[in-house]
Subunit: 321 residues, 2 copies
């Protein structure tokens, strides 16, 4: 491995975070990526472009995907097992689906160096923290739970991009046991990739995602399911306007993916879903009673909140997130 040159032409002055990365480089030099799909591949590309790591080793259960990642230059080399990939690595990024994170952590735990830092990209955090605590034992202090709010419609390492996280938010959810130094290292890496890092508790993260993402998906599915039971398909096609189209657009999302996300974030999602059900029930009661004032109160509070959100949400839209 040659020492990386001083500056990347695409980057101007080194920022504080880049200096932090550079100081950590001697120990962190080797990055291991477990799971070489869109997300893992994009982390590898982004850290390589930022010259934040010296060598990138990867593992994927699919030998073809491993070979493709090497052929594309995303990985310097592929390992035959997850444990082999992390041996000697200073930074380990777990980029597998949430239900598999615990098993991967258990497999790599014996091979993990005592100074290595491990992070993940899972979209729920409470379940991951529980699984990591059980799988890693004392090395749990080296694990920094993470969730980049970014993605693409596509999947696979061929779709990975060095700029996938540029300008995006990444939520890290360290707990009491997590080493402060590990949190700083992971923060520096994300900042080197151009992301903005927030620290939240796992519980707050899961509530946030339940409310702003998982609940809307369940609501959209439920709305279409209700309407398709009441009307024939041609009536929906003829009379559904843009309001219906907007409100149900995310019901076209893959059912299996959202089943898994819903189950993984079950506790937080059930809580907000039950609150939503109460709101719907109360609207039904107000409507039955002809209570226009009650309807108006709920509609108006919601309308004011939605109008305030207007520009912010449009800003996110414009990024195509």
């Amino acid at each position: 491995m040659s020492e990386p040159s001083v500056s990347d032409p695409s980057v101007s002055e080194p920022s504080v975070s880049e200096i932090a990365v550079s100081e950590a480089r001697a120990r962190e030099g080797c990055l291991a990526v477990i799971g070489c799909g869109l997300m893992g591949g994009s982390v590898a590309r982004a850290l390589r472009r930022a010259r934040a790591v010296e060598e990138i080793v990867g593992y994927s259960p699919d030998p073809e995907e491993r070979a493709l990642a090497v052929a594309l230059g995303v990985l310097d080399r592929a390992a035959e097992t997850a444990a082999a990939a992390v041996a000697g690595a200073g930074i380990v990024v777990i980029a597998v689906p949430v239900p598999e994170i615990g098993a991967v952590l258990a497999e790599i735990a014996p091979a993990l160096g005592s100074e290595a830092v491990v992070t993940d990209l899972g979209s729920v955090k409470g379940e991951v923290v529980t699984a990591a605590r059980a799988a890693l034992g004392p090395a749990f202090a080296q694990f920094v739970p993470g969730h980049p709010i970014a993605g693409l419609e596509k999947s696979g390492v061929a779709a990975s991009r060095a700029d996938l996280f540029a300008g995006r938010r990444v939520i890290l959810t360290p707990v009491a046991e997590t080493r402060g130094r590990a949190v700083l290292q992971v923060t520096s890496l994300w900042e080197a990739m151009g992301a903005e890092v927030d620290l939240l508790t796992p519980e707050r993260h899961d509530l946030l995602l339940a409310a702003t993402s998982h609940l809307p998906h369940l609501v959209a599915y439920a709305l279409v399911d209700t309407v398709r039971r009441q009307l024939i398909a041609s009536e929906i096609a003829q009379y559904a306007g843009p309001g219906f189209a907007d409100t149900t657009r995310i019901a076209a999302s893959p059912p299996g993916l959202w089943r898994d996300i819903a189950l993984a974030n079950r506790e937080a999602l059930v809580a907000v879903l039950r609150r939503f059900e109460e709101t719907i029930h109360a609207l039904g009661d107000a409507l039955e009673a002809g209570d226009g004032e009650q309807l108006q109160r709920t509609f108006q509070a919601a309308q004011e909140a939605r109008v305030r959100l207007g520009n912010a949400a449009v800003g996110i839209d414009a990024q195509g997130q």
Copy 2:
């Protein structure tokens, strides 16, 4: 009034519906529009452009709006009362808000000619039919309930347009007592305005609108209301992505307008809202029980229905309806 010239340069060969209008013209010659806002003004402009009527008289409770409608050439003349406007009219279009339709019909009933045809533009039909039956007595047979699925964000006669209904659907909901000839006359007028006419029962119309329009609005309001109670505003602004933005976009609609629409279509809307509540409740139970198969079944049925709808709904979107 001069006889209208044979052809409008913007119209090519006369269609069957135009011939029907032309045959009816001697009796229908005078159009009365009660309520000279966006919708009533647009009907007047569209029928004038189609040369389907000879004289347009209007009434609006606001003297300034009446004067503006005459000044803009939307009306030939304004009447001082609704009853005065309909005296001698062959076609009467009631273009006032749903809660006011019954009172207007009661006021004009004594002045209505026995061959006059009356229609309305109200967005719910069951309640309008009930009010019309009570208000019109024997003249109820001359009343053809109608609902053009069209509109603009703006309001007022100044925003009215001759092409507001071109390419749009209009639902007429005649009942057993309604004269067949009156239905044909109103159909011909809408076709002259470029609209496509469907006939449905008032109950089916109200269910259709409840499911495809009113329910999505209540759901969007309820979703924002639930989320704003769980999170602080800055969290929603920071983390809500395009899924949340799409699903809640119509929660920015005017609360008072949707309170009135919800109350007017109360019966049909309560029924679909309770069905939706059951669907949400069942999803919550499945989630609590960790029943992934049940979640998958609902998500998948909805996803397939939404994907099938894809192009149709996008088509409506593109019209900016």
